[in-house]
Amino acid sequence: MTDMIAKEGVEAETVEAVKSLSGKYKYGFSTDIESEYAPLGLDEDIVKLISKKNDEPEWMLDWRLQAFERWKLMKEPEWAMVDYPKINFQDIYYYSRPKSMSEDKPKSLDDVDPKLLETYAKLGIPLKEQALLAGVEAPENDRKVAVDAVFDSVSVGTTFQKELKNAGVIFMSISEALKEHPELVKKYIGSVVPQSDNFYATLNSAVFSDGSFVYIPEGVKCPMELSTYFRINAENTGQFERTLIIAEKGSSVSYLEGCTAPKRDVAQLHAAVVELVILEDAEIKYSTVQNWYPGDENGKGGIYNFVTKRADCRGDRAKVMWTQVETGSAVTWKYPSCILRGNASQGEFYSIAIANNMQQADTGTKMIHLGKNTKSRIVSKGISAGKAQNTYRGLVSMHPKAANARNYTQCDSLLIGDKCGAHTVPYIEVKNNTARVEHEATTSKVDDDQLFYCRQRGMDEEEAVALVVNGFCKEVLQALPMEFAMEAQALVAISLEGSVG
């Protein structure tokens, strides 16, 4: 009998639909531009070259070299539930910049190579100061978003610098910050994610090329959303950016980050470090929409995304909120963490991780409760489709001094089809008996009855899946700034296109 019996309508047709999925990644174009590369591979000279390209102070180079020495002795971590071919670290370009961004670096965005500007326009990223992020229709909405655009290894430009400067906010690429505010960079860099933290963070410390720097002075509420848009364009090139955000006492900022890359057959490495320093009564809201190229339906190509993100709530009542929508990358290894050092400091982590086709995601968070009355909340929504594997890995640690600390964790997994997997790996350490930890986890499948109900009302199957999945993710989508929430909602639908028949 060749007749396949549709046991559960959705599943039977999944295989076929997934096959027809290739070509759906909408940011897969590449920009044809002349770039200059550092020689292939990694040695001390490459580290020196990157430092020289950025015209860095001596101490920065020393720091990089120190990291490089450490890195040579370290081993790649293998504990994550991801499986990928061994990376040849000598077969990667560690620095690439568009020629037009070289010696005669454009003075302002107006002078930037139109091809670069076009790329961002095509991605829906406004580099003109009057513009808003694409997808936001309401003209009466005068919320502004300042953008730092990072292309391969360099920052192309940062918008609204003047307006931000008036408010006392520093928002520029980290390479510029090293020139203009070296004392601030020196004071904070590596203070949250130490040089020796982990294999990829150490690699990043040696070779990071650019990234964003944000400093919010005491008592200042940042007058607009800040954002960095990362684009990998060059082939065989790794992107190693470093972001450093400092929120002084009583200040607050909302920061957004977006990422995309062209479709390439060969996997590319992205190893970033993000450090947040939050002082007394300050607040940082950090949102990510990660949409790196996920590879094709057979697992060819895609970005290996190995990222270390950590926030240090140094002051009392400091607050950090990580929100991430992870839809891209072939492999994701990422655990945005909160060190709740100050008394009554708070950490929140909201995550949507979607893995379709052959994607693998191992992501979660760490909540390290050091101070009294610290609070944390974790809401993780993992969605698996195709043959993807999706793992939530989270640590909640209540240290001896964390009296009355509280954590609430909610981990929900949604499966689409019968060839994917969802895994939940919570680690809980409690060393103070007044601390309280709650953990809830659920796993469900997209229900055929729900889909039929939606279809009877006129929606096609993809629309129905998108609606049900968006409902599943709602709590996290609500945590995003409005501009991103709409983009993310659409992205959820796009990422799952073809996941059902």
Partner: protein
């Protein structure tokens, strides 16, 4: 409007015939009722009309205004004007009732090549229609059917029906789980949609719903066939004597 000829349906998963040759013709603006004992094939009829998976059509035809319904996907049938009010409306956590309705309305409009409703237009219409069904704004905001009482779920089905303006409405045991007041409210909602053009197929166990939604024709279904058809008096007969007499009479 709806023409069912010798429809034969089995389950895909097991070798079991459920409908054994159903014939039914519903004209424009007519209200037909199907009554029958448990397991007679009433709900299967409604699911097969709507295109639910899991059934195998082994014979017969179904046409909606001359179009072959059995060839269409569920969403195409919906866009063609077929609406099923579910016996057990499905919960969709996290999706606001309003969002669901608007997505559905616009999906159908799009499928028919009509302009989508703007947020303003939609909101105005939905508020008007919700009011007459005593659906408050809170119920419109809550996730679809989540935590709704039995009566709320059924009223919500009728609201969807009112918003989607179908040509052929199939109501699958809409009265089940409703108290008298709730049933009245639902029936009023249905009656408000009777305009002489729209047709209805009301599936029910009990005659009491038909006190409120007055049918033109009543069919008795048993063992996968329509065994008797007649006027509203047939429903009264069932109410009085149960199905046993009719079953005996046919056998």
């Amino acid at each position: 409007m709806l023409n069912i000829k010798n429809l034969q349906v089995g389950l895909e998963e097991e070798n079991k015939q459920i409908l054994k040759g159903v014939d039914l013709n519903i004209g424009e603006g007519e209200v037909h009722a199907i009554m029958g004992p448990n397991g007679s094939g009433k709900s299967t009829t409604s699911y097969v009309l709507a295109g639910k998976d899991g059934y195998e059509i082994t014979g017969g035809t179904v046409e909606l205004n001359g179009h072959n319904l059995l060839d269409m996907d569920p969403e195409e049938r919906a866009a063609a004007g077929l609406f099923l009010a579910f016996q057990y409306p499905v919960e969709i956590p996290g999706v606001g009732n309003m969002t669901f309705l608007r997505t559905a309305v616009n999906a159908q409009r799009k499928a028919r090549g009509e302009k989508e409703l703007t947020a303003g237009e939609f909101l105005k219409t939905v508020r008007e229609k919700a009011k007459s069904l005593k659906i408050d704004s809170d119920m419109l905001k809550r996730p679809v059917n989540v935590g709704f009482s039995g009566g709320e779920k059924k009223r919500n089905e009728i609201l969807q029906m009112a918003m989607l303006e179908p040509k052929m409405c199939v109501l699958d045991e809409t009265d089940s789980g409703l108290d008298v007041d709730a049933m009245k409210l639902v029936a009023e909602g249905v009656n408000a949609l009777r305009d002489g053009k729209r047709s209805f197929l009301v599936i029910t166990h009990y005659q009491r719903l038909l006190d409120h939604i007055k049918p033109d024709v009543v069919h008795i279904m048993a063992n996968g066939r329509i065994i008797k058809s007649g006027g509203p008096e047939l429903a009264l007969e069932v109410e009085k004597n149960g199905y046993a007499d009719i079953l005996a009479e046919v056998a």
